[in-house]
Symmetry: C2
Subunit: 611 residues, 2 copies
């Protein structure tokens, strides 16, 4: 088989058994790869109402059909699991070199369930499988874990996806980390921790066969030319994803737990600062963009701190929420989160939530152990991050995520928990970008910013040839569906979100079809069908778990408190008309939020009807 | 050339120039390799009275003629420099994989002088040389530095010798670290920091030629057989160097800044504890002993802490000096020292010194910033270590080492500074092991425990076929000379101190001569000559710097305060008769401590006469 390795590894940690299976013709045809494989495998394997932290939950690692080839920007890996944070379907993505190495080691996917009776790590060495003792790694940060596993295996080239103390300690938003590249969101690290699984280590020398090497080579060449011709390519190569200005000028850079959209002093975090702190660029496997970077702080209170990135979201996580514009804090906090194994978005959002509760008197100095959570005071942040990761002090509460923490605190604090379906909201205020917000609210993952990103509202990308009014309600249902299904298409091959803009579905289809030999993948209509199929199957996973329209909700703040100042002043999020428009576009029942049977049949998802 | 690479690299950081040269016939014949090369090169290059932190100081990295071959236990690397701690000749050694890699990269030695105008690291890649920017690494710990250099060079197999913040910040006892293996003593890291040299990175694929492959192979086979036949081999393989009991039962495990020799509660740090915390063994290149280990603390206050080792000396450093028997502290402190780049011996000794000053009221709570330096209180230790590395708080003073710190404090505190020639005394009380103490006091490095180790007193090894009374004075001069010259012999090939006991000079000579083709190295009388030559040239380096008998002195405590309790109770160190016996054995002038001219001529050191 070409592109694919045609090999799935199933690991049961409870009895420490392994099983291998091939990809079925139906799976390949119907779901293409990547996110398609992930949702189908998880849907098929999982019983409804399974405990996300129980043996029955799975964590599935997937590399796409183009990972490991010289096609550009296909080196992301995805994990799929039922989220301990949302209780629903989850998918999270990381970059670097883990995906290509998993392919070289012989596998498209690794499906892990059960629970080991003591800490272990999984070692996939050129097709050979082993579970090894990880007791001595338990409690260690991600960085030390990488070092010690490579040393133990006497193989410095091993690639590793691991958890830090946060995942071990049951923090609900613990991520999975590979050389500081995070599949951060939704609690994949929490699932690994509950399984006593410290890491997955992979290395191999297998080749990726190509169905049509010449055709593939021509497609890659075309891809490279498109990259080079794009001004955005040059920009991303030089400055990465780091500038927070582009949302601030729209007035949607959330501050003070989403009570404003303009951060005072943001000029201290503008482009020139990132040039100054950028020590060097970094890149994922086979990606000429090299948008990543090592940043280093050379002055101020956080002098000497460094991190990989930080990316836009992380820059926001430790600035807007607490009203701080010291990039030093962001870099220092990013480093600690990467090492302790925390999702920076949920961490920053949750800390911002704590600051508002403190302001409102819903938590006191006694609860914080003396920490002064007043806006502008960045001093408590690193302490809070460590407390969260170790489930100590106030961190014991915050480690549950905003939804659950608010439930425990009560006294009306629920209204300040800024999440959708339990997943903390990221760095775009939905009141000033309606389609982006509509995707937050409807996404099966909860408030995810990637899988329905509304570039039309944020970067001014045209939609069907026309400019889009970001405040408008009309037409946003259809546009949101388009954005979500489009992202689902790119996620089949697992192309990086920062790279999809350089090429189109045609060239993408050519890359997929010449690599795999599947002619249907060259048909963009077919890709649209699969994209929508994948999106709806994810929905049906959640429907089976009891989700519905009742869960497609925002905190009331966005609906009732108009944005107070700035370029989005006066805006609220018009949830009802937006949702109705969206359900109509999706052909979902507007009352229940469940896809109509006709739609499910049209998408070949008959097996989900009536779950 | 065989064994050797016949290639020395000279780097001048000031003008960023490189020069290569061959080994001269004289250097090889007269000094064999390793320590012999180190002292000769340093003696020739350095002008007297050079500033150890100035451009004129050198730091010389040397791999031995057998490094990189499959002979066992020859993988240590040495650094040579004028010490900022003692102001004299210094040599320090590290293990791991740096020495073999330096050979594979094409060099026997790297001589670095000058000072870069901004932080750099040296990259030796299969014979190609480059100085690369290290600004972004400045301030980083040794662990992150290893990771980021490997990533920057896109070569995970690179071996690195680097400094941490301690070396950058001018801490006088900063070491050089390679994958957590330390060339810790004497301030080699301080010298690198003063040169703005963050690291030396090496990788290569060159082979080591052998003059007589069959003869060498037979010698290695014999070596392996000798290892296997030794009960000590089995012991070291299984438990490493970790038990502190062997000195405690002699009453020479120093406690409370050398005011006793028995640690209460030492049973909490006995063999079974090390078995319990030992996660796995580690080894240096081509060494079947694998005496190293990764230790991990699974309970108590330091739960989750881990380190490489700790070795015997480090176990002592954070227990005896402050009266603590929690192995957790030792492991935690070891990890922090390895990362921040500190010599554990000087760090622990200096902290013990501070505890005594606190007890005596010579420093107060104000000086310590509120830290309670009372015996048995381990709480301040990790804080003090960080303060030392960053030159902050009380650490600003302690970072100078005990001698200089005492000078600054005054008020009689000098008597509590437990050092020889400025080098802090390690984990054997000289009052209960006179030859061991005599080596401390006369060693050119200061109080070094390796290069004159008196196994006869500590392990009951016979000397010239007879058992030795460790309290006796008589004959200890000659025995100390024998120990020191013997160690110098093993240091020519740079064989590990933990391995020399398995073989003898004959087999060692066979390994050296079959590898290099130099027949004279098979002659053990010749090796004794070179050993003594090396030792005396080191002496002459120091004589040239103004050292003499006046510097062969102990703190008065050992001379005047009898050991209060335990198996060495009542003993003092009889400095005068011991020294006189030693000078006689060495043929050194008993008044000045300078080698007699006849001796220097006999050793072929005529060029040092009258310096």
């Amino acid at each position: 088989m070409s592109g694919y390795k045609n090999r799935i590894l199933r690991v049961n940690l409870t009895d420490r058994s392994f099983k291998e299976e091939s990809l079925s013709e139906e799976l390949i045809h119907d779901f293409v790869g990547g996110r398609g494989f992930g949702v189908k495998l998880l849907y098929d394997d999982m019983k409804p109402n399974s405990d996300p932290l129980g043996e029955e939950n799975e964590i599935i690692f997937i590399a796409g059909p183009l990972a490991g080839t010289n096609a550009q920007s296909f080196s992301r890996w995805k994990i799929f699991f039922k989220s301990p944070l949302t209780g629903g379907y989850f998918m999270s993505s990381g970059g670097g070199y883990f995906a290509s190495e998993l392919k070289y080691a012989g596998f498209d996917a690794v499906i892990i369930k059960g629970r080991a009776d003591s800490p272990v790590f999984l070692w996939i060495n050129d097709g050979k499988i082993e579970l090894r003792d990880a007791s001595y790694l338990w409690g260690l940060g991600c960085n030390d874990t990488h070092t010690l596993i490579r040393e133990e295996l006497r193989n410095p080239k091993v690639r590793i996806a691991c958890i830090g103390p946060a995942g071990e300690n049951g923090v609900k938003f613990a991520g999975v980390f590979s050389d500081r590249r995070a599949a951060g969101r939704g609690g994949g690290g929490t699932v690994m921790g509950a399984k006593n699984l410290k890491a997955v280590a992979v290395h191999g020398r297998e080749k990726i066969d190509l169905a049509d090497p010449a055709g593939f080579s021509a497609a890659v060449k075309e891809q490279v030319n498109r990259y080079k011709a794009s001004p955005r390519f040059k920009h991303f190569s030089e400055t990465g994803t780091q500038t927070p200005e582009f949302t601030n000028v729209l007035g949607i850079f959330p501050i003070k737990n989403f009570r404003g959209g303009v951060l005072p002093g943001i000029e201290k975090m503008d482009g020139s600062v990132f040039t100054e702190i950028r020590a060097r660029n970094t890149a994922c496997h086979s990606c000429m963009i090299h948008c990543g970077s090592i940043s280093k702080i050379n002055s101020g209170r956080y002098r000497g701190s460094w991190s990989e990135g930080p990316e836009y979201e992380t820059i926001w996580s430790f600035s807007g929420p607490i009203l701080c514009s010291d990039i030093g804090l962001t870099v220092a906090a990013d480093n600690v989160c990467d090492d302790l194994g925390l999702d920076t978005i949920s961490t920053g959002n949750t800390i911002g939530f704590a600051y508002e509760l403190y302001e409102k008197g819903l938590i006191t100095r006694e609860d914080t152990g003396g920490l002064e959570l007043t806006y502008g005071n960045d001093e408590p942040v690193l302490t809070l991050i460590k407390q969260i990761a170790h489930n100590k002090g106030l961190g014991e509460l915050l480690a549950k995520g905003t939804r659950e923490a608010a439930r425990r605190i009560g006294k009306g604090s629920e209204q300040y928990a800024m999440h959708v379906k339990g997943l903390e909201i990221p760095a775009y205020d939905p009141r000033g970008a309606k389609a982006h917000g509509l995707s937050y609210i409807t996404m099966n993952l909860g408030a995810d910013h990637c899988a329905g990103y509304a570039g039309q509202e944020i970067f001014g990308a045209p939609y069907k040839g026309k400019a889009v009014d970001r405040f408008a309600v009309k037409g946003k249902g259809e546009m949101t569906k388009w954005n979500q299904d489009d992202k689902a298409i790119w996620n089949l091959g697992i192309m990086c979100n920062f790279a999809t803009g350089y090429i189109d579905h045609e060239l993408y289809g050519k890359l997929l079809s010449t690599a795999t030999g599947r002619q249907e993948f060259a048909d963009t209509d077919y890709l649209w069908l699969v994209g929508e199929r994948v999106y709806n199957l994810e929905r049906m996973f959640n429907i089976r778990e009891g989700f519905g329209r009742k869960d497609d909700v925002f905190p009331e703040r966005f609906l009732k408190e108009p944005m107070p100042v700035g370029p989005s002043a006066g805006q609220v999020f018009e949830a009802d008309p937006l949702l109705e428009d969206y359900y109509r576009a999706r052909s979902w029942d507007p009352k229940t939020g469940i896809p109509h049977e006709d739609k499910l049949k049209e998408l070949g998802l008959d097996f989900t009807i009536g779950v």
